[in-house]
């Protein structure tokens, strides 16, 4: 799970794993690791979810944390256009390091859609599998994780 700081990576995982949303913003330091067993079709899959601290002006993603990843989720805060640019940059960096792994792009904070700066059309142009989610309302979260799990099984 990668993206700019404050886009909601940790909240998406909490919503998915524990069905909880907390309004308080707590910065992730380093890596937060969770696991979740899901069923995709007839197959049971254990997802090890690595929530990597968001990039900011001071710290870049630690490339060694990407070792062994089977796929990744690029998280964007729909309310911050800069977070999309960051996601695009991360995708290029990860693709260079890990090659063509399955990934999805998440436009989070769908509950604040009327304040979005990100143009969905501009995202669609890239042809990336994209999901609109709200960690707060829970919408789209499970679908997004299951879709990625499905891609991993392909």
């Amino acid at each position: 799970m990668v993206g700019q700081f404050g886009v909601g990576k940790t909240s998406l995982i909490r919503r998915f794993v524990d069905s909880i949303f907390d309004e308080r913003y707590l910065t992730t330091v380093g890596v937060k690791i969770d696991r979740k067993d899901v069923t995709v079709g007839s197959e049971s899959v254990t997802l090890m979810l690595w929530d990597l601290a968001g990039e900011d002006d001071l710290a870049q993603l630690n490339a060694s944390h990407l070792r062994g990843a089977s796929g990744y989720i690029l998280v964007v805060d729909g309310c911050r256009a800069a977070s999309l640019a960051k996601a695009v940059e991360l995708q290029q960096r990860i693709a260079r390091q890990l090659g063509p792994l399955p990934f999805v792009l998440v436009l989070n904070k769908a509950d604040l859609r009327d304040r979005w700066e990100v143009q969905v059309a501009a995202v669609s142009e890239r042809g990336w599998p994209t999901f609109e989610t709200s960690a707060k309302a829970g919408s789209g979260v499970e679908e997004m994780f299951l879709a990625l799990a499905g891609k991993l099984l392909q």
Binding site: V29, V31, K32, I33, A53
Partner: protein, 590 residues
């Protein structure tokens, strides 16, 4: 090892690659099973640790990043030496410290972004509001200006004078708000041009002195002889600061005098200006806050003396942009002095020839002007400004009509409103610019830097901000025609062609000329489709008839058209059509 366990470490000895043996007691937080299975994070750390154990160099330990697992926070440490150890630290305290530091940075960054967005929104709002206010103000002030030029009795003249003064005051307030928002948005860039500081001070005193003297106040200035007569800087903004300070001084002074003092600072590149009054004074506890936005010394001040409280805040920002500072001294009931310093450089080389004030006279030539504005009031105003100039003004109501009109007539100047229905002024300018280099003036109530940039990006010659004064418009047109319109390509007023027609022909020449004017459109259309036969035929008709009616040039142009149509010479045909169009615009029957 029990000590390390007590301090929150689990200690493992490396017994082979990815093989570890717990040393000492297992802390309560250590999951059962092997360490690599218990802590998935080690999957990314151990490759680095193995590399480190193989060649530690000068280092004795390699620390991993922090990680969180089951609500606990950990760090791994590879320790080098004869024996190789892997320590897992339950790093709660370190995590809390790191998190509070990073969280502060993130929250500050998010808040900064939020403030930037709000400031941007405010700037846009102010720009929009100023546009909405400036558009009707343009019509109001302009018509008042025109009204003042008409015959009026004394009572009417006084009404108009008050009307214009109130309008100008309102415009000053709008300009203050705009300036302030521009400064806040970092959109003010100071000019660096040569100027004489004495002249700037004198002009400011001349302007502000009118109101002050009307109140019975004395106004004087003292400029130290050492103050250079040539400086490089922004005289406009300097004048604005002085006007703000003098305006305030006059406002808060009922009797006595206003004085401006200019002297050299200890730093030779810095001048100090001091504006003193003998007014009501400022309480000591408010001296430091009067330069804050929307602040006056007393809330009741606004009610009694008016004003937005922005003048000093804007002055302070300008002074800071000029590398100076501003401060106040005051004694209640005795008076106040506002001092400010500003940094200038002294120009090298010979003095530039001062730019002569462009004569605020109407263009001395009968220019053909295309005016595109959807507001009837604004068109009326421009027409009024240019009514005695002899200019021919073709009016259209939107950008699409302007482009169409431009294709069919030769214009010396285009005046284009920015916001119009169907096709806005920017798009129309782009289309017209693709057709020729005619000077195009964007007329807009948008005064912010972006609006200017947008105008120039579209290809405009200049950007005139409404409300446009007659002098500004005339000066801009004069400048443009001097720069852009070739001398021999212009119809001069003196060139306006007066043709004496024999009396028996008079009833028919109007129709004849009208028909020729219709031919201009037909010729252009024929040229567009490459129909040289039609051009030749029309040229032939003209060459055979023009002289007979007394219009020899029509005969000449007709012959040229006929010849160039036979030669398929499109450039010459185009020139002849424009000659005909211009001649028909200039010709007058006597």
């Amino acid at each position: 090892m029990n000590l390390l366990t007590a301090l929150g470490f689990a200690v493992f000895e490396r017994s082979g690659e990815s093989s570890f043996r717990l040393v000492g007691q297992a802390p309560y937080w250590l999951p059962a099973g092997g360490v690599t299975e218990a802590f998935p994070f080690l999957e990314v750390f151990l490759p680095d640790a193995e590399e480190f154990w193989a060649s530690p160099g000068d280092r004795t330990a390699l620390y991993s990043d922090l990680w969180t697992q089951d609500d606990l926070h950990f760090c791994a440490i590879a320790v080098a030496g004869e024996q190789k150890f892997l320590l897992i630290e339950c790093a709660e305290r370190r995590f809390q410290q790191a998190q509070s530091f990073v969280q502060y940075a993130h929250e500050t960054s998010l808040a900064r972004d939020q403030i930037a967005k709000l400031t941007q929104a405010k700037t846009e709002f102010l720009a929009r509001m100023s546009h909405e206010i400036r558009t009707p103000m343009n019509a109001l002030l302009g018509m008042a200006e025109l009204l003042a030029e008409t015959p009026l009795n004394d009572e009417q003249r006084e009404y108009v004078r008050r009307f214009r003064r109130a309008g100008n005051n309102l415009l000053n307030i709008i300009n203050d708000i705009l300036d302030f928002s521009k400064v806040e948005a970092g959109q003010i860039e100071l000019e660096k041009i040569e100027f004489d500081p004495r002249k700037v001070v004198e002009e400011a005193i001349e302007i502000a002195g009118v109101g002050a003297r009307a109140k019975g106040l004395e106004v004087s200035c003292r400029i130290q002889p050492q103050v250079p007569s040539r400086l490089l800087g922004d005289p406009g903004r300097l004048r604005q600061i002085l006007l703000n300070l003098l305006g305030n001084a006059a406002k808060f002074t009922e009797r006595g005098e206003l004085t401006v003092l200019v002297k050299m600072d200890l730093d030779p590149d810095v001048l100090q200006f001091s504006v003193s009054d003998t007014g009501i004074g400022i309480p000591a506890d408010r001296l430091s806050t009067i330069f804050d936005s929307f602040s006056q010394a007393d809330a009741s001040t606004t009610r009694k003396y008016g004003g937005t409280g922005l003048g000093l805040a804007i002055s302070k920002r300008f002074v800071e942009l000029m590398g100076g500072r501003i401060w106040a001294e005051s004694t209640l009931g005795v008076g106040s002095t506002i001092h400010f310093t500003a940094r200038f450089s002294v120009p090298q080389g010979p003095a530039q020839r001062p730019i002569e004030n462009a004569q605020v006279a109407l263009p001395a030539r009968a220019l053909r002007i295309l005016l595109a504005d959807d507001s009837e009031e604004n068109r009326f105003l421009i027409r009024g400004y240019l009514k005695d100039s002899g200019c021919i003004i073709d009016e259209v109501e939107n950008g699409a009509q302007a482009v169409e009109q431009f294709k069919h007539h030769a214009y010396d100047v285009v005046l284009m409103d920015a916001e119009m229905p169907v096709l806005d002024g920017y798009s129309a300018t782009r289309e017209i610019r693709a057709l020729g280099a005619t000077p195009i003036f964007l007329l807009t109530a948008h005064a912010l830097a972006e609006a200017r940039a947008r105008s120039f990006e579209a290809g405009c010659t200049d950007h005139l901000t409404k409300p446009i004064k007659k002098a500004t418009l005339v000066r801009a047109i004069n400048d443009a025609i001097n720069k852009f319109v070739p001398q021999n390509d212009r119809i001069h007023v003196s060139d306006r062609i007066h043709v004496c027609v024999e009396s028996w022909l008079k009833p028919v020449v109007g129709g004849y000329l009208e028909k020729r004017r219709g031919d201009v459109g037909k010729l252009r259309a024929a040229l567009d489709r490459g129909d040289y036969d039609t051009i030749r035929s029309l040229g032939h008709q003209m060459s055979g008839t023009g002289g007979g009616y007394g219009f020899d040039p029509i005969t000449e142009i007709g012959s040229a058209l006929e010849e160039s149509a036979l030669a398929s010479d499109t450039a010459r045909i185009r020139t002849s059509i424009e000659d005909l169009d211009r001649y028909l615009s200039a010709v007058r029957i006597e």
